[in-house]
């Protein structure tokens, strides 16, 4: 009789081997293998006729919530007996409600019923009142014993006296649960497989180096996968989304011919404000607008000739034709250290140190301003700023450049417009508005031509040279782009958020 070869996976073979020494019906729980795999493998083997899977329903008894409650507080009849003992063995029925021991009249009826059934109490009438009298103290309460057993571990229903079970159920102290128990038994075919009478082909789940090298793969059968099953979740290493956005902006600016420059986070007020013609009593320089330092406090300003020219420009305009601010400028304020409030400080440093034209520079970096961190404000945020400086540049060039930049940032040509604005270091000054499909017109690029008072101390004649200075509200733009509504998420401290950002 030519039997067909049966293919079995390694798991199936392992289960068969575990079953080999056992006789008859074996409970799944008793097999030393993870239960879910045992069940899955058993079903597969059953399909191949190697074993039988027998389902058996078992009824288990568990205490209800009320049952657990009664275990803690005592059954009503227990409590009744306690009350009676305390009162010298008897009590008027009506007064039992007032003892505070029972939660309801139903409880009292249940207590009396059960106590009478067990012959623990007697009832009698006296002077028109019903008296409850204790006849004997119980040695044990069978109901409670059952309840306790069921509480410790599920008890099979058929192991309990049916009368007690009915009573417990009636009183709502226990409930029955059905559980399916699986048993497995080898078939004749299964035995033949084990004895070797029926040959098997090994079915393998993983093609291994050994199988390939040894050539054993020729005899093996590769198990089919369930291609619909969900894979385990893995997270790739990723760039942070805001950092990635800043990289993109860098790339755009480099594409437009800009060179990136940098400067220190801790900056002298001189570079952050004075060199930008912001008067020393300007509100932006007050303690609620910029962070001053406890340590270190004073800069060693190096280029004292430049410092002197800046002083003159502030006081009386120097050679610029400006009136200046008309106040007594202080060196001590200029050398005070602050956390830089604007990357314009970097532009000022760069213009001061470079002489060649044309110059196209930008910086993207942290700036700091005293603010409470919330959905829309931050004390530590990024600015992106730059300068285009060459002979003969004018406001038309400024607008042309701003429009180009806005288009590079992804906005449409006919959805860009300009309005006048004020920045202390530029004149004329302009704000660029672009149309966003959801938010309407939004401000994205503040800009202007550096004032003569800013350029002159650096040795630049503003009659000949135009310096277009611009800044992108980079954090806001990133939020719009990335669909982030809380500014804190740009620096998210939530790993799950970062891992899943960009997943759809």
């Amino acid at each position: 009789m030519g039997l067909k070869r049966i293919s079995l996976s390694e798991g199936e073979i392992r289960l068969l081997e575990l079953l080999a020494p056992r006789e008859g019906l074996v409970k799944v729980d008793e097999i030393p293998m993870e239960k879910s795999s045992t069940v899955a493998l058993a079903h597969l083997l059953a399909q191949k006729g190697i074993l039988e899977v027998i389902e058996r329903q078992e009824r288990f008894v568990r205490p209800t919530e009320r049952g657990v409650h009664c275990l803690n507080k005592g059954l009503p009849e227990e409590r009744l007996i306690r009350v009676l003992k305390k009162r010298g063995g008897r009590a008027v029925l009506k007064e039992l409600t007032k003892t505070g021991v029972f939660e309801s009249n139903t409880e009292i009826s249940a207590a009396i019923g059960e106590a009478r059934r067990l012959g623990l109490i007697e009832m009698r009438k006296s002077d028109g009142e019903t008296l409850v009298e204790l006849k004997k103290s119980p040695e044990r309460l069978p109901l409670k014993e059952v309840l306790e057993r069921a509480y410790q571990s599920a008890v099979k229903a058929d192991e309990i006296d049916p009368k007690l079970l009915t009573l417990l159920k009636k009183r709502g102290l226990v409930k029955e649960e059905r559980k399916v128990e699986l048993g497995i038994r080898l078939t004749d075919l299964g035995r033949k497989v084990l004895t070797g009478e029926v040959k098997i082909t090994r079915e393998i789940s993983a093609l291994t180096k050994e199988l390939i090298e040894s050539g054993l793969w020729k005899e093996a059968r590769l198990k089919e996968y369930d291609i619909k099953a969900k894979p385990p979740k893995v997270y790739p290493g990723k760039l942070q989304m805001y950092a990635e956005f800043l990289d993109e902006v860098r790339e755009i600016l480099v594409g437009l011919g800009f060179e990136e420059v940098k400067g220190p986070y801790v900056e002298a007020e001189f570079w952050n404000f004075d060199a930008l013609f912001q008067p020393q009593d300007h509100p932006a320089r007050e303690i609620h607008s910029s962070y001053i330092l406890e340590y270190p406090q004073e800069a060693n300003l190096r280029d004292l000739e430049l410092v002197e020219r800046v002083r003159r420009v502030h006081e009386d305009g120097w050679i610029t034709g400006s009136t200046g601010w008309g106040y007594k400028w202080s060196f001590d304020i200029a050398r005070r250290l602050v956390l830089r409030t604007q990357t314009t400080a970097v532009s000022a440093r760069t213009i001061a140190s470079r002489r060649e034209l044309p110059l196209k520079i930008f910086s993207i970096d942290h700036v700091f301003r005293p603010d409470v961190l919330d959905r829309t404000h931050s004390m530590d945020f990024h600015q992106c700023e730059g300068v285009v400086m060459d002979k003969g540049l004018n406001v038309k060039h400024l607008l042309g450049f701003l429009a180009t930049l806005a288009m590079e940032l992804g906005f449409k040509k006919d959805e860009i417009r300009f309005k006048p604005d004020y920045f202390p270091f530029t004149e004329p000054s302009v704000e660029t508005l672009v149309k966003h499909e959801r938010l309407g017109w939004i401000e994205v690029l503040g800009a202007g031509m550096f004032r003569p008072e800013v350029l002159a101390p650096f040795g630049i004649d503003s009659k000949e040279v135009g310096a277009l200075a611009w800044g992108i509200g980079i954090g806001r733009l990133a939020m719009v782009r990335l669909g982030i509504e809380d500014i804190r998420d740009l620096h998210s401290r939530d790993l799950i958020f970062l891992r899943e950002f960009g997943e759809r």
């Binding site: 979740k233 290493g237 760039l239 594409g255 011919g257 060179e259 990136e260 420059v261 940098k262 220190p264 986070y265 801790v266 002298a268 303690i287 962070y291 001053i292 330092l293 340590y295 270190p296 800069a299 060693n300 300003l301 305009g317 034709g321 009136t323 106040y327 250290l337 956390l339 044309p358 700091f368 005293p370 603010d371 409470v372 961190l373 931050s378 004390m379 285009v388 060459d390 003969g392 004018n394 038309k396 060039h397 607008l399 042309g400 429009a403 006048p420 604005d421 004020y422 004149e427 004329p428 031509m449 004032r451 003569p452 008072e453 503003s462 135009g466 620096h491 790993l495 799950i496 970062l498």
Partner: protein
């Protein structure tokens, strides 16, 4: 920037006609004001800090009338020399030296006008006045006082009057201790031996600047004749504030009377309403704007901004109204004319400036490092540079050392600048114990270290730090990652046993770069001490490294 609430009805009545929504928004835009909110007849706008003259409905209407062509050129106010005198005593010079007086007669204030005047005063106090420290303004009913006015410093106990809105006499000391305004602004003068005071001929107190006026000279909507006093620290700003208030009142038909000041400041007449003269070369305008306009056309634009301007050959001579304090240089005239012309009518020109773009070497190198870290399976994070000493030192058991510390932190959590990236990574891990492991995170960024040799006494240093948390973490595993990173950066390095307060003794090492120029210390690597893990609530081991990238970056 100051925020103003404007009554549209009142504004339209001053302009002389209603404005449509689109007209209004164009005018606001040309005045650098942004509309924040509309509610019925009220609108809320933001005004830029340089335009003191736009802090009242009267001032705004004056400017709008120019832009609309209703009334161009410099406003003509009726000005006369009054015989009122102000006497400045030497005693006040060390207390609050800036002082100016002016009168405005025949004003019909009405409820709206009174409210507008109060708002104007308040806004100047808040902005230019730096909360009354630099400039404060008092307005009085001229008919209830008798000139001359004396401005003097007196002992606080000797200054006794009924403060505005009160019914009992208080002395100046009581006012700064008990009165609502005294508590708010008393600190400006509290430590001076003498307090500034304004009295009239009879010795009646007008005002205790910068705190409160007296009930005696209270102004109501019925008041017709006004005396304005301005005091402060700087004479220039004090006089400018007086001009702004007086001309706003003159917009309602008031006649401005000048006052002669005598005494400690010498002789002086205020307010000085002489327009500032500034000339603009047409060629300069054309060079700066790219707009080919004739001097006459430029002059016409300036007239729309309420300047007087005449073209004289190639030069525009401009007369700037005294309330416009924002003209320092002819470039300001260029902008003013350009705004009247309209930015969006100007047209664009793409600047043809040929340069070669370049990412900063630090960023270029950092990108390489970041991509290698990502390749090793690490998630990038971006922390704030501002942090706390608690996070930077206490939580990771590092002993404190001098770092950049802010004197005016808003929150304790952000009061110093980080001098190391590692504490931020560990705090990140401690925030994420609920997320699945392994957790591999890194950050590339600047820390700030104190360096006396630098102009700013500090130096930014670019670093990379990584942290790896898993059920089992060995020194070897984190070392393998550092090794992979440095090999791929082409760096030869060595490790040397050392102790770090955050790391387990015997499982931590100093990282040394072996560069052509010599061997230098670059950072550290190791396993985090269980004591630190406990403080941070981390339940599995963590390996970390942090190295300086600056020595590897070609400048």
């Amino acid at each position: 920037m100051p925020t103003l609430t404007l009554n549209l009805r009142y504004l339209f009545s001053l302009v002389g006609r209603e404005l449509s929504d689109s007209e209004l928004s164009e005018l606001l835009e040309k005045s650098k004001m942004s509309l924040e909110r509309i509610e019925g007849d009220e609108i809320e706008v933001e005004v830029t800090t340089d335009r003191l003259d736009l802090l009242s409905e009267e001032g705004i209407a004056r400017h709008f009338k120019g832009l609309l062509g209703i009334e161009e050129g410099i406003p003509k106010y009726e000005v006369f020399q009054s015989d009122v005198e102000g006497i400045v005593e030497e005693s006040v010079m060390s207390v609050r030296p800036g002082f100016a007086l002016g009168i405005v007669l025949g004003v019909h204030l009405g409820e709206e006008g009174l409210l507008s005047l109060m708002h104007l005063q308040e806004k100047i106090h808040q902005t230019w006045g730096r909360e009354r420290r630099k400039v404060s303004i008092g307005v009085h009913d001229f008919d209830k006082l008798e000139p001359p006015i004396t401005y003097a410093g007196e002992r606080p106990e000797d200054i006794r009057f009924v403060p505005l809105g009160e019914s009992e006499i208080m002395n100046a000391r009581e006012i700064i201790n008990r009165h609502e305004k005294g508590i708010a602004y008393g600190h400006i003068i509290a430590d001076k031996p003498l307090f500034p005071v304004l009295r009239d001929r009879r010795g009646g107190v007008l005002s205790l600047p910068p705190i409160i006026n007296s009930e005696m000279t209270r102004v109501t909507s019925e008041t017709r004749n006004l005396l304005i006093d301005v005091t402060g620290t700087s004479q220039r700003e004090v006089e400018q504030a007086l001009i702004v208030v007086a001309t706003a009142l003159a917009e309602k038909g008031g006649k401005i009377g000048t006052v002669k000041l005598k005494g400690a400041k010498g002789e002086l007449v205020t307010p000085d309403l002489t327009p500032k003269v500034m000339s603009l070369e047409a060629e300069y305008f054309r060079a700066k704007t790219g707009l080919n306009l004739s001097p006459q056309e430029i002059a016409n634009l300036l007239r729309k901004s309420r300047l007087d301007a005449v073209a004289k050959q190639e030069v525009v001579e401009a007369l700037i109204p005294p309330y416009r304090v924002d003209f320092l240089h002819p470039i300001d005239l260029v902008e003013e004319a350009l705004i009247a012309y309209g930015y969006n009518k100007l047209g664009w020109e793409i600047p043809n400036v040929m340069t070669i773009g370049r990412v900063h070497p630090k960023e270029k190198f950092s990108k390489k490092v970041r991509l290698l870290m990502v390749g090793l399976g690490y998630q990038e994070i971006l922390s704030y540079v501002m942090t706390s000493e608690k996070e930077l030192f206490d939580k990771v058991l590092r002993p404190k050392k001098p770092i950049v510390k802010v004197a005016n932190p808003v929150s304790k959590a952000f009061a110093v600048l980080r001098d190391s990236l590692m504490p931020g990574l560990l705090s990140f891990l401690s925030n994420n114990v609920h997320a699945s492991y392994p957790q591999l995170v890194f950050e590339v960024g600047d820390v700030v270290v104190v360096d006396e040799s630098q102009e700013t006494k500090t130096r930014n240093e670019r670093r990379v730090a990584a942290a790896l948390a898993d059920d089992v973490v060995s020194f070897e595993r984190i070392q393998a990652h550092l090794d992979a990173l440095l090999r791929n950066l082409g760096v030869k390095y060595g490790l040397e046993r050392f102790e770090h307060p955050t790391l387990i003794k015997g499982r931590s090492a100093k990282v040394l770069y072996e560069l052509k120029s010599g061997t230098i210390e670059a950072g550290y690597i190791g396993e985090v001490r269980p004591e630190v893990l406990e403080v941070l609530g981390l339940r599995c081991p963590v390996g970390v490294f942090e190295v300086n990238l600056d020595p590897l970056i070609g400048g």
